[in-house]
């Protein structure tokens, strides 16, 4: 508190001086501005020190994650022990299933969150209601909102989360690891120019569109995502459109159902029969892939490598 007052006094006084300097400066040609900027830099520096100091005073020990991707990120960063609550959808890694549940992503239970006494609640812009954040603030609970939506944003997003959680090192190394893999994949460019369709659900036909990790992955591999039409992130697609655009490769995600390998093949049978004359189906270029790309977390790397494996 005393330090704060000191800074304010200091700043106010010097500010006055510098105003005077500015005036003189206009007549005598720039000797004082130098002094002014040094003072400003100094003041800023002290402020930053102060802020950093108060923040590190309460490094969060009890973390609640409001999204499966965040849960995966926290576990990958080695903070699994600090997680005290997750959503009912957080099923990866295996330990996440043992954590106390606080409800769904769009409808988390406020009571459960408060009862777990978190130091910080980590939310995402991709599925958590904004009102919930406001409500948590009104109850005096700290939040951090993870804003990354695409793979290129992921490393930066991880670093920022690391800063917020006072765990820069762990998160930086996680970000670097992802960055390295992405660069390696990019340099391979194994899908150069191929038209790719990623089917999320066969009936009704939903595909991965713009602004999704799948779209980024296809782009990084050098392919063209023919699902990226219109505005929707996961648009409804017509079978006509598949014929019209004639994909070279079709991926079908298994991640939306239990025992995806068996069930998704069963569910996709009808669709694949109807598009049997599309070149990808005729040439047997239809692959069933895991859910790595459905969550913007550490496993997107596995997801990209899985796609890359089928493209070779």
């Amino acid at each position: 508190m005393k330090a704060g007052v000191f800074i304010l006094d200091f700043y106010g006084k010097k500010e006055q001086d510098s105003k005077g300097a500015g005036y003189i400066n206009s007549m005598h040609g720039g000797r004082y501005p130098m002094k002014r900027s040094i003072i400003q830099v100094l003041v800023c520096f002290i402020f930053i020190l102060l802020i950093a100091d108060t923040a590190s005073a309460k490094s969060p020990e009890r973390i609640i994650s409001l999204a499966p991707s965040i849960t995966e990120i926290l576990f990958a960063a080695g903070l699994g022990d600090k997680i005290v609550g997750v959503t009912t959808f957080c099923d990866h890694p295996e330990e996440a299933k043992q954590k106390p549940k606080i409800g769904g992503m769009s409808n988390p239970s406020l009571e459960e969150v408060v009862l777990l006494k978190p130091d910080i609640v980590i939310m995402t812009t991709d599925g958590n209601p904004k009102e919930f954040e406001q409500k948590l603030h009104s109850l005096g609970i700290r939040t951090y909102v993870f804003e990354s939506l695409t793979i290129p944003e992921l490393p930066q997003g991880l670093k920022k989360m690391g800063e917020a959680l006072e765990e820069d090192e762990r998160f930086n190394s996680l970000a670097t690891k992802i960055d390295e893999t992405l660069n390696a994949v990019r340099s391979q460019g194994s899908a150069s120019g191929k038209k790719i369709l990623f089917i999320v659900w066969p009936e009704p036909l939903i595909v991965a569109g713009r602004q999704t990790a799948v779209d980024d992955a296809i782009g990084l591999l050098g392919g063209i995502n023919i699902g990226a039409i219109g505005q929707g992130r996961y648009p409804k697609y017509s079978i006509e459109e598949i014929f019209h655009r004639s994909p070279d490769i079709i991926f079908i995600g298994k991640g939306m159902v239990e025992e995806g390998d068996k069930n998704m093949r069963e569910l996709s049978k009808g669709l694949l029969e109807r598009i049997a004359h599309v070149s990808a189906v005729k040439k047997g270029k239809v692959f069933f892939v895991g859910d790595g790309l459905y969550r913007l977390g550490p496993r997107v790397v596995d997801g990209i490598q899985e796609l890359a494996g089928y493209l070779k």
């Binding site: 009912t88 409800g103 769009s106 409808n107 988390p108 239970s109 009571e111």
Partner: protein, 320 residues
């Protein structure tokens, strides 16, 4: 008759108390730690108050509306007010505007509901007064229009606000907050008390325009005032927590079954009953699949619809 009202009030109070302390995690009112106190005061109490307000507004509006439209199938949502509110609220949620902070969505919904109310009123107005059938049809027509615009917006928008909008449309009380309660209770109390003061003229209105005229009431004026009350109460209720199905239709019929169809008693009993039923529905909604919370609107419809059908068989509601 009075002991019945007494009994209903006592039951309602018990239900409200249970809703406060029960739930997926019981709170013992005599031994509370700080966290439990906070949960009780900042989460459960506003939630229970919001459900009482919403339920009371819907129950009373239903009773009044069935009277002024002389139609046993009328409920506050048939006038399209809720569809208008849902449309503006969903637009607010999906566009992500946070103009008024935590009360943004309620403000949007209230504005939408009021505009729709005015519009329906204008459509139902002819030769210096409201015509029940015109009001009803205008409301149904507008309701369809707004719901389809809503569907259109929802099918072309991709943002994650969509899921939130869906929840809101089904009536979601989970984010009930103290900040909306003063406004909501002001409008609802005003609407409720005016319609209770006009209960006598509503009784006359049900007999038909000519008869009520000869009994000394002006049907046009009374219908206008009561329509205003209903619009205000419905708008406030929808803006507090979205659409709660069935209470407006069902509760007045249940109340008639218990206390008869004198509106002086029917309106307050419908209000009390509506509040209590919504409290219970919300309690069930947040308890059965805990920690996943089901929107209260779904619960009221699931419990309400079968009971309504049972009542329909047991007693001929239409003959009232």
């Amino acid at each position: 008759m009075n002991w019945k009202i007494f009994l209903i009030t006592v039951t309602a109070i018990i239900i409200i108390t249970v809703a406060l302390f029960a739930g997926p995690r019981l709170i013992n009112p005599f031994v509370m730690n700080d966290t439990e106190k906070e949960i009780l005061l900042s989460i459960r109490l506003p939630r229970v108050i919001v459900s009482i307000l919403m339920g009371a507004a819907l129950g009373a509006s239903g009773a009044v509306l069935q009277g002024i439209l002389r139609n046993p199938l009328a409920d506050p949502y048939i006038l399209g007010i809720s569809s208008g509110a849902s449309l503006t609220a969903a637009m607010g949620i999906i566009s992500g505007i946070t103009l008024f902070g935590i009360v943004t969505i309620p403000v949007f919904a209230f504005a939408g509901a009021l505009c729709t109310g005015v519009f329906v009123g204008a459509m139902g107005w002819k030769r210096g007064g409201f015509w029940p059938d015109r009001l009803l049809l205008a409301g149904v027509g507008l309701g369809f229009l707004f719901s389809s615009i809503l569907m259109l917006i929802m099918s072309i928008s991709s943002t994650e606000g969509l899921r939130r909008a869906m929840l809101w449309i089904f009536g979601d009380l989970s984010l009930a907050d103290w900040s909306v309660i003063p406004y909501g209770s002001l409008f609802i109390a005003a609407g409720l008390s005016i319609s209770m003061l006009r209960a006598k003229s509503l009784n006359a209105l049900i007999l038909g325009d000519e008869l009520s005229h000869s009994l000394g009431f002006s049907p046009r004026k009374e219908r206008f005032i009561l329509f205003l009350c209903v619009s205000l109460m419905t708008a406030a209720s929808v803006s507090l927590g979205g659409m709660i199905g069935f209470i407006g239709l069902l509760i007045p019929h249940m109340a008639r079954f218990v206390t008869g169809s004198d509106n002086r008693i029917l309106i307050p009993v419908s209000a009390i009953g509506g509040g209590a039923i919504l409290c219970i529905a919300d309690l069930i909604g947040k308890s059965v699949l805990s920690p996943t919370e089901l929107p209260a609107g779904i619960i009221t419809a699931i419990i309400g619809a079968p009971y309504f059908l049972y009542l329909l068989r047991r007693k001929d509601v239409l003959s009232n």
